[in-house]
């Protein structure tokens, strides 16, 4: 293409100019190399950008949510008054259990904070969690021999104190703009001064179920609910999705009918998830009489929603398997079913698993359809089975995010972190499997 003759010096035999050697070629090559670098940089940029987004989101969440893994506690002196706890003095655990611990709490705030007026008592009780009385009860039931003595006991602090201790409440604000007024602040400071305020790992958060009190609220109930729901969702959507895809891609005659099914499935993916909720309500609860708020129904409904994702991904993966591999197997007398299950499906497995990962991730994060079938609910007990009332992690997050109490902000973020850990755990198997199935040919 050009007339440069510079590298001809030691190659006299070459009579013809190569189009790849001249200056123009070099310029073109330079441009191509530049575009190559640019393209690669775009690719890297895309990956980094997406990961940056993830990191930003995660670090914001971590910044907000890690605090929820600890909980403020307050140490108070308790006079385990026998008159209140065990009036008859025979250490009958039933009597002790039924004693007036609210009264004991009142004694505590009187002794520790000097609160005597009814309003003051109420205010100062607000330093503690509403469950403090049960903590007292449990303490006494465990150590009945201590009745009559004065003990220092660590009690869970209320959400407000927790927020104050973690620095989420600005103490420099004027009193009327603060959640915690000067009196409570004074009590807190006094306690703090004698090292009676401490933060401990928040076991309740990981073992408890929902509560209206942020300091008591836990994520375990919703986690179990999610696990049960997704289990049902998976055992339905995975086999049905994969077999549907296999049928359509490998066996079905290619005609209008299968075109219709194909378009249909693609279209189902675009149906707003709440509509699946309507369907679930009508079919599973209305027609089949399954219970409301139950993981079975949630699982069934989410399975319908997840199916299109799995089917579409599986079909794409099946399509990508080269025909030569199918022919090789057919030529050996493998039946179509054997061709698919022995050769094509294993090669398509990465795509199948990707579809499953995406579909399950979507199912794990979904709230809207669950509203229709009663899973957006306050459920204070950890679900015991597939048909006991349950809620799921995203619903819990949704509900907490909508709560007025400030302390729920960090619980919400922490719950999201738990959900993401759940997601990673759930996907881990699929991801490992996918790597093992990946091969080039």
């Amino acid at each position: 293409m050009t007339d440069s003759t510079m590298d001809q010096t030691n190659a006299p035999a070459i009579r013809r100019e190569s189009p790849h050697a001249g200056a123009a070629a070099a310029a073109r090559l330079k441009a191509r190399r530049r575009s190559e670098r640019r393209f690669k940089a775009y690719g890297l940029g895309a990956v980094l950008l997406a990961i940056t987004m993830l990191v930003v989101l995660l670090s914001t969440l971590a910044g907000q949510g890690l605090g929820a893994f600890t909980q403020t506690q307050v140490a108070v002196e308790v006079n385990l008054d026998p008159a209140l706890l065990d009036p008859e003095g025979n250490r009958d655990l039933r009597v002790i259990g039924d004693a007036n611990y609210t009264g004991l709490m009142t004694n505590i705030v009187r002794d520790n904070f000097g609160a005597t007026q009814r309003r003051d008592i109420l205010k100062s009780l607000g330093v503690f969690s509403r469950d403090a009385r049960f903590e007292l009860r449990d303490f006494v039931l465990e150590n009945p021999e201590l009745i009559g003595t004065t003990q220092t006991i660590w009690l869970t602090a209320s959400g407000d104190i927790d927020m104050l201790d973690k620095g989420w409440i600005d103490r420099d604000l004027p009193e009327d703009q603060r959640r915690v007024d000067d009196r409570v602040l004074g009590w807190y400071d006094a306690l703090d001064a004698k090292d009676a305020v401490d933060r401990a790992f928040n076991v309740r958060f990981f073992t408890g179920a929902d509560s209206r009190s942020p300091e008591l609220a836990g994520i375990w109930g919703a986690t179990v609910g999610s696990a049960l729901t997704l289990f049902i969702c998976f055992i339905l959507s995975f086999p049905i999705g994969v077999t549907t895809a296999i049928y359509l891609e490998e066996f079905a005659p290619k005609n209008r009918w299968t075109d219709l099914i194909e378009v249909n499935i693609n279209n189902l993916a675009a149906v707003p998830s709440i509509v699946f909720g309507l369907l679930g309500l009508a079919v599973f609860i209305g027609f089949f009489g399954m219970p409301r708020s139950a993981p079975v129904v949630g699982g069934f409904t989410l399975a319908l929603m997840t199916l299109p994702t799995i089917i579409i991904a599986t079909r794409a993966a099946l399509k990508a398997v080269p025909p030569s591999i199918r022919q090789a197997a057919q030529g050996l007398g493998a039946s179509p079913v054997q061709v698919v299950f022995h050769h094509v499906l294993p090669l398509a497995m990465p795509g199948v698993l990707t579809g499953t990962i995406l579909g399950m991730a979507q199912a794990l994060g979904e709230t809207a359809p669950l509203l229709m079938i009663g899973m957006v609910a306050f459920i204070a007990d950890t679900p015991g089975g597939f048909s006991s009332p349950a809620t799921v992690l995203p619903v819990q997050i949704f509900l907490w995010a909508d709560s007025p109490e400030r302390a729920f902000v960090e619980k919400t973020a922490a719950a999201i972190l738990v959900l993401l850990s759940f997601l990673i755990l759930m996907n881990a198997i699929a991801i490992v499997l996918r790597r093992r199935f990946e091969r080039r040919w």
Partner: protein
């Protein structure tokens, strides 16, 4: 085609009658009538693109798998019309095995490649028996020595010729009655070619073989009957001797005498 050239007494294992094949609009085979005789080797020769592979693939219905293919006419395996609706293509392909023109090993280990057929057809009752079949097949295809230490490595990591022999081993491991080979030696060196030709000769005693080849010498060496295709038509078919020494058609003559492969 001249049907009088069928040796008396010989039984046709497979017969094609008035076979027409279309890839969409394009016709690739025109009224092909051809008998493949049992216990003999039939060579299909002809210029590139004349329809040899297409014809071969008709014999075990591998063309079914290509979209847009339409077939007219009859093909029989012994007495059954293989395009009949009642025929089980799976069984047909187990009886009529195929080695493809482009080697296509499975992305599995070498061992699994060969063991696959016997496994699905239940030809081995034990692992030892299966090992035995694999080893024997690889040996017959002349590949065993080269790969005996790497049976558990991938079949796609073999050289071109090795892949080709692997595919031959894979096909014979199934023990089919008819073996269709589409240029089985194209990627092989003379020694490996000799090994495969020996194999073909050996197989002929019990099996029926059809082979596509571009080498006239090979056709002459291994086949008893030769079919010459041109532009989708079967131009001449007869005893190999006769076709090579005394072709009836000038087109055959021209093709063969232009030889130097």
């Amino acid at each position: 085609m001249n049907s009088s050239s069928i040796p008396s007494g010989a039984v046709p294992k497979m017969t094609a009658r008035k076979l027409n094949l279309f890839y969409g609009e394009k016709q690739a085979l025109f009224d092909v009538d051809l008998d493949i005789f049992a216990n003999s080797v039939t060579a299909l020769i002809g210029p590139s693109g004349c329809g040899k592979s297409t014809f071969l693939r008709c014999l075990n219905r591998m063309n079914d798998t290509i979209a847009g293919v339409r077939i007219d006419g009859k093909v029989k395996l012994e007495t059954t019309d293989i395009y009949d609706r009642s025929v089980d293509v799976v069984q047909l392909r187990a009886r009529v095995g195929m080695v493809f023109q482009k080697p296509n090993p499975f992305p599995k280990t070498i061992y699994e490649n060969v063991a696959y057929g016997p496994r699905i057809h239940g030809l081995a009752d034990s692992r030892a028996e299966l090992d035995d079949i694999v080893e024997r097949s690889l040996k017959r295809a002349g590949l065993f020595e080269e790969v005996k230490n790497r049976l558990q490595e991938g079949g796609t990591g073999l050289s071109g010729g090795q892949q080709q022999r692997l595919c031959i081993a894979r096909a014979i491991a199934v023990d089919p009655e008819v073996i269709l080979m589409d240029e089985p030696c194209s990627a092989l060196d003379p020694i490996a070619t000799a090994r495969i030709e020996e194999l073909i000769d050996e197989l002929r005693e019990n099996y029926t073989i059809a082979i596509v080849t571009h080498s006239m010498q090979q056709a002459a060496r291994v086949s008893q009957r030769t079919a010459f295709f041109h532009l989708g038509q079967l131009v001449e078919y007869g005893d190999t001797e006769q076709v090579f020494t005394n072709p009836r058609e000038t087109r055959t003559q021209d093709y063969i005498t232009g030889r130097f492969g």
